[in-house]
Symmetry: C2
Subunit: 435 residues, 2 copies
């Protein structure tokens, strides 16, 4: 289902044109599921998704009824035990995985520790000479930190490439595991999951994908790509709330083969037998560890539902088409309307290479411009550069709750910030805050 | 402050006597902080604490205002980033730790993995020949499972003793770490933390304490006992809600020496510099890993507050005095009123050896009796035995919300179940449910 009129999109020259696109957007109704504050254009859903209207009410039920009245009985009666698998099954529908292949649990970092150590352990059997984890220097840092914590204990090496073009060279006879984030958190650049996985497998390397900036925003086909393991985040495009549980997936061909270093009782085959010896549960459930956050899982359930609501409207493909239309329009309008102010679009222009965000660079004003925009109610975020990378203004476009008029208005605010020199005001230049 | 009239306690012969004790109980007002369902006597607070009245409202604020309106800005503006340390500081006051020594985070099992690997790593430097983790076979199984997951990777051994009397022998020249749960989850038997820690240290063994059944219920003095590491649970006596975040402590003498195998970005010295190399934060903050559950931490905060409310009334010492009075009375009334039905009190009679629970054994009817009691609104739980241990009926006594009349009524219900033979009814004998 093509939800976007390409001709009308290309012809956009005004706020009215954008409003017309919104009026004809078949996904427009999804927006009603969310609580969007007055006067805010929220372009930071890739950092913390907005709140579904259903969430506060759901938490009232979970607390006042299930916990308050049901107490311990609700582990069974209210289905609390099933939440990691039940929410996992819903997430599976967004990432090309099957039922029973995903659990929602713990944090992204902790889940990465689980799958990375499982992948290394499998390679220890399959190819013991392979002792290197390959990743990108520009990967989200916590992924690198987790790899560092793991190799520190186990004597592996971490090889970081600076450009995806170096991948073929890095995937050598010593490479054990390739660990990549599908969509880069800074630039929004997206890997071709199937092609990269194929190339890695061809030379005997297992692949772990971090879907933090993918799940709920871009099409993912884990089983189709024959990936080995994947993890992802619940509080970005899945709208699960601050610090929501993350998720973890293993390809069914690995089922019951991979292990769990964090072998807690929730991953035990019979947790309520209270036997002293660990015996892993069948399938992905063995990736559970301790008792799971019921509040967090209930809120994540509401968040995932907002994306599943797109299924009758074309699902992830329709969300993706709209997302590309939003990000493409934003980049074009920045080019056209903000020219001459030193901004450059850093994210890939080509649709197939772009996630659901657009990043802009500016030599001196990126931080202050983000602050000035926030003061105007346009919320994006700033990511500092270094010797190899520019400072960036980062704008995420969640297709479930953003529209084309939001894009127009965001660019209009940016233009004002630039033309009026607002970003040079001292109050926007103290780089202390973190967002 | 002695909150209990010992003479009146010893003289209890009726429900009225118990009501009189309640009327004179200076901690009685604490009960008003909780939502206690009608018709329920809740003796399972050692499995899932009851809900504070403040929690649902707090979650409304966190969702509708902080998340819904504040969005990403609330990480700073609403203090979300500070929650693990802020709640940790409150928990510290209940366990004899100082401010800045505790963080609330992740699950008990995951925190155990962190501290156990830290303790082993310290021993690798201090005493590399020591390659054994000592624990009890009757420890809570997830603690053993986590140790098994860790030694599987690192080539240590796990030595399980069957009786605390075997400890001196087990703490030999090969022992690296002693890992104990302070109050046994099945029997309620409590270790002398200071004495055991002293004995372990005297022979060069580091000590990790699991406070799951201690924090909020019995006095704990971690710094006074000079323990090395401790972890504990947020959803039992701390009333943090189902799957609440757990907590982790390291003795200040180890500060900045211990490491974090789960080295995620929240434990980084400068998480928002996004540098590719992990550099641990100062102090206990390095025990954070990924992004923390704000919903879970906010609810835990409300739970911990219900115990801090006892501080002007004598604090943990007063809670402990009342807890001992409740458990002592329960054991005595079971002895006196339920004699001849095959029940035996399994928990220690001596106050110093008893946590905040009383366990009863019955050769054939433990499971069915628990079910029959639940049907009457008296909620305890069942723990299956094995060749070495009897089946038990487990009753936890949270002094913050239980009273002496509850004890009387619970025993009265138990007596009815026994005298009327209710536990022999078929509907109470299907051992499928888990609670």
């Amino acid at each position: 289902m093509n939800v976007i009129n390409d001709e009308a999109l290309t012809a956009v020259r005004s706020l009215e044109d954008c409003r017309a696109l919104d009026a004809n957007d078949p996904l427009r109704g999804l927006r009603e599921q969310f609580e969007l504050p007055e006067g805010v254009i929220y372009l930071d859903g890739n950092s913390l998704g907005v709140m579904p209207r259903a969430t506060p009410e759901r938490l009232q039920v979970v607390t006042r009824e299930e916990w308050g009245q049901g107490l311990i009985r609700s582990w069974n009666a209210a289905g609390w035990f099933e939440l990691p698998a039940r929410v996992g099954d819903k997430i599976a529908r967004l990432i090309g995985a099957g039922a029973g292949e995903v659990v929602a649990t713990d944090s992204t970092s902790i889940n990465l520790f689980k799958v990375l150590s499982a992948a290394l352990e499998m390679q220890r059997e399959d190819a013991p000479a392979r002792r290197v984890i390959v990743s990108e220097r520009d990967n989200f840092p916590t992924d690198l930190y987790i790899a560092q914590g793991l190799i520190r204990e186990r004597g592996y090496e971490l090889c970081l490439i600076d450009d995806p073009a170096e991948l073929p060279q890095a995937l050598d006879a010593e490479a054990a595991v390739l660990m990549l984030t599908h969509v880069n958190y800074r630039t929004g650049a997206m890997h071709d999951m199937a092609a990269v996985t194929r190339a890695a497998h061809a030379v005997g390397v297992k692949v772990v994908w971090d879907l933090a900036h993918s799940a709920g925003a871009v099409p993912v086909d884990l089983v189709g790509a024959a990936a080995d393991f994947a993890i992802g985040c619940g509080y970005k495009y899945l709208n699960g709330g601050p610090g929501a549980p993350a998720f973890v997936w293993a390809h069914p061909r690995h089922v019951d083969r991979f292990r769990q270093p964090l072998s807690g009782w929730w991953g035990h085959a019979s947790p309520f037998e209270f036997t002293p010896d660990y015996r892993p549960a069948a399938g992905i459930s063995r990736y559970l560890c301790g008792t799971q956050s019921v509040l967090g899982l209930a809120a994540l359930d509401c968040g995932v539902d907002t994306l599943l609501a797109a299924e009758p409207l074309g699902g992830v493909a329709a969300l993706r088409a709209k997302s590309l239309a939003l990000t493409g329009l934003f980049a074009r309008l920045v080019d056209e309307r903000c020219a001459g102010h030193g901004l450059a679009v850093v994210s890939p222009r080509e649709s197939a290479l772009r996630g659901s965000q657009v990043c802009l660079s500016h030599a001196e004003g990126a931080y202050a411009m983000v602050q000035a925009l926030i003061a105007r109610g346009v919320i994006g975020d700033f990511r500092a550069g270094d010797s190899a990378r520019p400072d960036i203004l980062r704008f995420g476009f969640a297709p479930a709750y953003l529209g084309f008029a939001d894009v127009w208005n965001a660019v209009e605010h940016l233009l004002q910030v630039l033309e009026k020199g607002e970003w040079r005001r001292p109050e926007f230049n103290g780089r202390n805050a973190v967002t």
